[in-house]
Symmetry: C2
Subunit: 391 residues, 2 copies
DNA sequence: GTCCCTTCTTCCAACTCGTGAACTAAGCCG
DNA sequence: CGGCTTAGTTCACGAGTTGGAAGAAGGGAC
């Protein structure tokens, strides 16, 4: 039976969660505003808030002028109640950042890694963790949790498959837990970037959205009904390997005609080369040059890319009916900065009228570094869900 | 603030719902089994069950032998506590069926319609409702609700857009409510067929699934985390108009290369015709003949169709990561009965290894008539969600 | 047939929680 | 300083779940 009972305790936890989430997500609020928004009674709000203040999660933050009556006292989540750490595991480096609960960066550590073996990564993440904790002068008990973002399929805090790192079945959270008492969460990098955009970037306010990431490869993060959708076994969102040209170009995944083979930077440059263009320097420089070129075959390749990407977007629009699509990834941003309007128009040609009219297509607002930020929200999500620190 | 408060009443309602859902979905259960499955205390289970029995929703249904102790009394939802009616609105007819709570058909009514105007449809649905109620000798107060399935986009019980009927912005539930006191629910036909398969057909037990429907056109119903996923504005699941051959065949939606243009029966026959095949009789006969032909160009067309359909499935597998894909629709069933294995193999060529390994591809188990059955579950869903009839 | 054992069901006192109403706090205005 | 308005708090009450004890219902042993 999947549904769970509800007890009096669940009720309280749930209400604490509602209040805490409200205070966190909708800025400083007064008790008064909370009673309106939560439809809880004023008595209960007072009661719950008193408890949260006593525990230190929430604090009063000045008051707001009233119109003749007692001024409302504003409440906010105490930024220094706890701290959170986010880590991004890449192929060539590990980046660790420490934030307060208001998500201000307090310390940062970068470790290059030579060969991304699990041992190496665990070592560097743990080192980075101690470094940032020490640098910010915080007790490690003050750290609510560590979120780790890895490019790959993650299920229940364990890496199932991370091709870029060459990992399979690595219980990363477990390995990390051996070296620290801080609770560890592991999740997929694309999802974490998506999470950061949803909370602090271009996705704010949306409940059904897709964050589409176009870099050398292509991926996405699905958000359904306000929370990340992961599918039956945590690998939903593999948008890059959607067949878009039946029987088309060979993709590195082995299949033919994947979106990634057409709009991933690698695929785009490859198509450019085949069309007679010259590709110099590293991928990113070459991509910028391609975008800036005004001669054939560059313009055709760019236009085609927009077309393919638009078809990929249209497939999302039709199938998922999101209210927003956020385009990110380094190649996606470069492309989007110059051609967003054309892209929007092209999507309209491939998508059904109604869902197309309901979606807004925008660019990511946060930089690539937002992965660690997104990972750091994992412990915060938990704090909000539990309505405080569970004793 | 999207999250809602919880009160003591919600707690009880929630627990009633858990118990009632358990009894309904997992067959006759004893109180003892309910305490284990719900992790509620035996006291609460007894208490809640007593209430449900007093109200008549639940009844005792014999007892089961024990091993020396007191035998357990089995509980079931009383099939005759209330009745539900499901209606399917098609282009040429309206079909209305009355079920008891065990979903046995007790009466059925078919009305052909000449021109499917809203007035005509409302009239026939209401007539059908009276007919089946009268035929089964039930008081209309005994009818829990009427579920209506329409092919089109439905939002908040109102038709937003039903192309096959030529309707736009028709508040169907409201119109029906003027003619009856029975609560009316309206929903999308594909979703209702999906719902029926999920509860009583090939989807049983799955929580993340896609019911893919291939008929003359192509659609799907998405099920995420145990319940139907509708997207931001209720039009999710438009799988048929996914671009699968960039720049390919013109689809009736106006776009190029939609899946529907390749695997919808109309598209398949059209391709057959273009390849030199002869198409006689109505669509269905012609489709059957095509499938049975062993000569060129028929075999090529069929093989290609399987390939395109497989790519469409693979896109679902990659993007949504379902545990099950249920293939239905008349053309889908015909195709699947003969070529399911080839289809499975082909999907493997287009999909990523891991999500492909996690999905099972099966055929619908219920007939086309299941649409009305699915629609009739709408009031039942509500009954279970509310934990009984709300007073 | 009687007694005991096992298993299921109900009853009861204790405890938790949210609510409404009365009450206190705090600022404004004249 | 007193009246007014709005914000927040206190308290008794009803509604709900729980664990444990008591009750009920069969089956088996003698």
């Amino acid at each position: 039976m999947e549904v769970r009972r509800t007890t009096v305790r669940d009720m309280r936890r749930s209400n604490r969660s509602v209040i805490l989430t409200g205070i966190y997500r909708e800025g400083p609020l007064s008790r008064q505003e909370l009673t309106v928004r939560t439809s809880l009674s004023a008595a209960s709000v007072s009661n719950l808030v008193a408890e949260l203040i006593a525990e230190g999660v929430v604090e009063e933050a000045g008051s707001v002028e009233s119109e003749g009556g007692r001024p409302r006292v504003l409440l906010r989540v105490a930024p220094t109640f706890r701290y959170v750490v986010g880590a991004e595991v890449g192929e060539t480096r590990v980046r660790v950042e420490l934030f307060d609960l208001a998500m201000n960066v307090l310390a940062r550590a970068d470790h290059p890694i030579a060969t991304p073996t699990p041992e190496e990564v665990v070592k560097h993440v743990l080192e980075g963790l101690s470094t940032v904790v020490a640098a910010s002068g915080i007790q490690s008990e003050q750290v609510l949790g560590l979120g780790v973002a890895v490019a790959g399929v993650v299920e229940d805090n364990a890496i199932v498959d991370a091709q870029t790192l060459g990992w399979e079945a690595v219980p990363l959270a477990e390995l990390l837990a051996e070296g620290t008492d801080i609770p560890v969460h592991v999740d997929n990098g694309a999802n974490m970037l998506g999470q950061a955009e949803m909370w602090f970037g271009a996705g704010r306010g949306a409940t059904d959205a897709v964050v589409a990431l176009v870099g050398s490869g292509v991926g996405s993060a699905l958000v359904a009904g306000g929370s990340s959708y992961r599918g039956a076994r945590s690998s939903a969102g593999e948008w890059g390997h959607m067949t878009i040209v039946y029987g088309g170009r060979q993709c590195r995944c082995g299949a033919l005609g994947c979106l990634e083979a057409y709009v991933g930077a690698e695929g785009v440059l490859d198509r450019y080369r085949l069309a007679g263009g010259t590709v110099d320097g590293d991928e990113e420089t070459a991509f910028v040059e391609l975008l800036e070129a005004t001669t054939e075959p560059a313009t055709t390749i760019v236009n085609d890319t927009i077309g393919y990407l638009a078809a990929g977007f249209a497939n999302l629009v039709n199938l998922v009916n999101p209210e927003r699509i956020v385009l990110g990834g380094w190649a996606g941003l470069l492309l989007g900065e110059k051609h967003l309007d054309e892209l929007r128009t092209e999507v309209g040609k491939h998508a059904l009228r109604r869902p197309y009219a309901q979606v807004s297509i925008v660019l990511c607002e946060l930089g690539r570094d937002a992965v660690a930020l997104g990972a750091a929200t994992l412990p915060v999500v938990r704090l909000l869900r539990d309505g405080g620190v569970v004793r």
